[in-house]
């Protein structure tokens, strides 16, 4: 045992000194921090986006502006909530900040905004005035701690700007006295053609004396009334391009497009109501009637069954752990393979075997690399906790909830257990491969098929949480080489006790069996030189006595 320990110590020191090990350790917290910080940052840092609106029908400018005002109001309210959360007074005698869910003022503010939005939907919304903002500020003032900074209104995300002169000329030429005879769609085509260089960034527009990029252009043809699609027996086949055209190179940011589509359709519909002699306000009110709808989870405590962000996280966090498990296990088993092959190809193995038994050597290697793995995942878990602690706060609801889930779900201990079991199973396989190969190239040939089999839990990891007790999940849980990953995948969904305990026992037995087999192969294979043996030959080794 003393000698196994010496071998383990060397393996540990040797691998802990590699660059890959340190990159692995530091990469995780960096990625984690980035993935929490960047969305936050992007949200704050997205510059105002400018777009032009060419409405040849002249009917929708007001409507679209109203939609933009609504988007802005929502942003203001969101920021206001964050602001209050950040600077809220601490309740007397307590260290922690107040739980905002319990503050009626915030609730009522949200409700008011809701109501405000709804009532105003009867007509285009006007821009948020200073007076209204002041009123909101007054409402939250009593909640704030002393010395809280002034609330800053977020800038508008989308801003309607004037048409560049060049385009205006094009428009003017179309309407001027010597204008050629063109159809509406031909006119729109000509305009969009001259807008192209602005939209693709080749040309800049000037806003308030500063050059900036044109984010999008919205083109509404004169005959928009004629291209409305009405369901029914006489439904016309109308091309999408005949209606409103939204030109934009950015396909990821859909907010503007969606809002314009929404408000214009809303406007069109209210006109239809009018045409049918219906009271549009009534219709609107009716459209906004609803039954309360709650999503509940029977597994949760009585009275707190509402599905929250935490539940979402609880469902999906195991996916992250499966990924870590996979990376962790294969990083270190790869180390095991490399070291074994190094010893073999250098023939150091002979010197080692003159000092320690094959069993001690194998045990030492397993222990040493397990140490490397435990160091690595401990560092990951530690950095997870540290990053979440630092990042937790009003700015990142996600971090708070994730932290809460980790503390209460038992995912971490399960991760540790599945990591160890997975490591033992796979280390056995890799050690056996390493012991029969003389060069890394031989090993890679054998590794190819192994990798194909091993990649499967990564491919299924996104599907398992959708149906954590389904056929796929259950069947794969009982395949020993997949069991650690799939059971981790299912961990948050409380798998049946039978699966939980059964697969645990199965994994322990598998690990023991694999290691026993590896012991036999290792002892014989490790001294072999030349071609890797055939499978049949390896079976013979298994039967060989000591």
């Amino acid at each position: 045992m003393k000698y196994a320990f010496l071998v383990a110590l060397r393996e540990y020191a040797d691998n802990a000194k590699t660059k890959g090990f340190w990159i692995g350790i530091f990469l995780f917290p960096i990625i984690l921090t980035i993935s929490i910080t960047v969305p936050e940052y992007l949200e704050d840092a997205t510059p105002t986006r400018h777009f032009v609106l060419i409405d040849q029908s002249g009917e929708f400018v007001e409507v679209i502006e109203g939609g933009l005002n609504k988007l802005h109001l929502i942003d203001v309210v969101k920021d206001m909530q964050k602001y209050v959360a950040k600077h809220a007074k601490k309740p007397e005698g307590q260290d922690t900040k107040i739980d905002l869910e319990d503050v009626p003022a915030i609730d009522s503010m949200e409700a008011k905004v809701d109501e405000y939005l709804r009532t105003l939907e009867t007509g285009p919304m006007s821009e948020l005035g200073d007076a209204e903002l002041e009123a909101m500020k007054k409402q939250v003032a009593p909640l704030l701690e002393e010395g809280a900074p002034e609330f800053e209104k977020p800038s508008k995300k989308f801003k309607l700007v004037g048409v560049p002169t060049e385009i205006q000329e094009e428009i003017d030429a179309q309407t001027g006295p010597d204008a050629p005879v063109l159809t509406d769609s031909e006119k729109i085509d000509l305009i969009s053609e001259s807008l192209r260089p602005y939209l693709s960034g080749e040309k800049k527009i000037t806003v308030d004396g500063e050059e900036t990029e044109l984010f999008a252009a919205v083109l509404i043809p004169k005959n928009i009334q004629d291209v409305i699609i009405r369901p029914g027996p006489k439904m016309l086949a109308i091309q999408d391009r005949a209606g409103i055209q939204f030109w934009c190179t950015n396909v990821a940011d859909n907010d503007l497009k969606k809002e314009i589509e929404r408000v214009v359709n809303k406007e069109i519909r209210s006109r239809e109501y009018l045409a049918e002699n219906l009271d549009s306000v009534k219709v609107n009110n009716i459209q906004n009637t609803r039954v309360p709808f709650a999503s509940l989870n029977p597994r949760k405590e009585r009275g707190k069954e509402e599905v929250s962000l935490a539940d979402q996280i609880r469902q999906w966090a195991p996916v992250g752990f499966v990924y870590l498990l996979w990376i962790g296990i294969f990083t270190i088993t790869q180390m095991l393979l490399n070291n074994t092959i190094e010893e073999k190809s250098n023939r150091i193995i002979e010197v080692l075997l003159s000092s320690v038994t094959a069993r001690e050597l194998m045990l030492g290697k397993l222990l040493g690399i397990a140490g490397v793995g435990l160091t690595m995942i401990s560092a990951w878990m530690l950095s997870l906790v540290v990053v979440l602690t630092v990042k937790s706060g009003p700015e990142s609801e996600f971090a708070v909830q994730l932290f809460e889930v980790l503390k209460t779900s038992g995912l971490l201990p399960k991760f540790a257990v599945y990591f160890l079991l997975g490591y033992l199973i796979y280390s056995g396989i890799f050690l056996a491969i390493g012991s029969v190969c003389n060069t890394l190239k031989d090993a890679q040939n054998l590794m190819g098929p192994v990798m194909l089999i091993m990649i499967i839990p990564l491919m299924t990891m996104m599907f398992i949480p959708r149906d954590p007790h389904g056929v796929l999940a259950t069947v794969m849980s009982w395949i020993p080489i997949y069991s650690p990953f799939i059971m981790m995948n299912r961990a948050a969904a409380d798998p049946p006790m039978f699966d939980l305990v059964g697969t645990f026992i199965m994994m322990v037995v598998t690990a023991a069996f694999v290691l026993w087999m590896t012991g036999k192969i290792f002892r014989t294979g490790i001294l072999r030189s030349g071609q890797p043996p055939r499978i049949v030959e390896m079976f013979r080794w298994l039967k060989a006595p000591k």
Partner: protein
């Protein structure tokens, strides 16, 4: 001080149907330098591995210091034939690591590693990774690693291969130095000069079988005494002398040839015949000699004689 260090009894090793080592027995007393000779594939490395308990013999028993090798691992040092080191480890750390595997404490092992590196001129490389060392230096480090724990029995498999003449000299010194301190050394080699210079005794195996085991002087007695002469004259008359067993033609190097044209000849003598008598006969029969050589056969000749045709393969390694 003639304790038996190593006792090999009727050892056989089978690989499937192949008999790699065939019923070999020998023993090595304490304090001698024992050469282990044999052509390629003779079973030397397999035998050494069995001695070290890396392999288990199919039949027979091996005892080192009266026990299994691993039980007395701290008394054995081993340098394998193919040399290699951990590339990313520092020179001192490798020596210390192998020494701790032989039971030394980590502190002593480190101290000892630096001491050895300094003594053998590698002081400046002690803190270098072994991948930065030249092949010869790396090999020296490995030799030091195998003797760092001051073993009583050192087994060296081809210790001279890959070393330049200066370092071969150093290697010889290491071996002599250890023998001087009453350590026992078993080394295999295919360079007969080394064996001849260093060994007290030799063990010769071929085809898995033991061919010879004894002192060098004894090994030379296994060959009939011989006289080599060079002359342009006819020497048929010498073959008539009583006690001359055989007269054969050889080439300039001493290898037998088919064509009996001279000028090189070799006479094998019977036990009772003195080489001086041949010289007298030459004078009497007016054979003009260019060369007359009655020196002992070299170990190489003994080797060729004992191993037979297989030896050719070995000598061209």
């Amino acid at each position: 001080m003639s304790e038996t260090v190593l006792e090999v009894q009727n050892v056989t090793k089978m690989y499937g149907d192949f008999r790699a080592v065939d019923d070999i027995s020998f023993s090595i007393p304490s304090g001698v330098i024992h050469g282990f000779l044999g052509p390629n594939g003779a079973g030397k490395t397999t035998t050494i591995r069995m001695i070290l308990e890396i392999l288990q013999p199919t039949e027979g028993s091996i005892q080192v210091f009266g026990a299994g090798a691993l039980a007395v691992r701290e008394r054995i040092g081993y340098l394998p034939e193919e040399k290699g080191l951990y590339k990313k480890m520092k020179a001192w750390a490798i020596i210390a690591y192998f020494a701790t595997l032989k039971g030394m404490s980590r502190k002593d092992a480190k101290h000892r590693a630096y001491e050895l590196l300094e003594r053998y001129g590698l002081k400046d490389f002690a803190d270098k990774k072994t991948e930065a060392l030249s092949k010869g230096m790396g090999q020296k480090v490995q030799v030091l690693a195998s003797i760092a724990h001051d073993p009583d029995l050192v087994i060296l498999d081809e210790p001279f291969s890959g070393l330049d003449p200066v370092n071969q000299q150093v290697m010889e010194e290491i071996i002599r130095d250890m023998a001087g301190r009453d350590k026992t050394i078993l080394f295999s080699t295919h360079v007969m000069q080394h064996a001849e210079r260093l060994c007290d005794r030799i063990l010769l195996i071929a085809g898995g079988k033991k061919i010879f085991d004894g002192s060098i002087a004894e090994s030379k007695k296994s060959l009939p005494r011989r006289v080599r002469i060079e002359t342009e004259d006819s020497i048929d008359s010498l073959a008539q002398i009583d006690g001359v067993v055989e007269l054969r033609a050889i080439d300039g190097e001493g290898a037998p040839t088919e064509a009996r044209v001279g000028p090189h000849w070799e006479l094998l003598l019977g036990d009772q015949l003195d080489a001086q008598a041949i010289l007298e006969a030459c004078f009497a029969k007016s054979i003009r000699l260019k060369r007359f050589d009655q020196s002992d056969p070299t170990l190489h000749e003994v080797f060729v004689h004992l191993v037979g045709p297989e030896a050719r393969e070995a000598s061209y390694r």
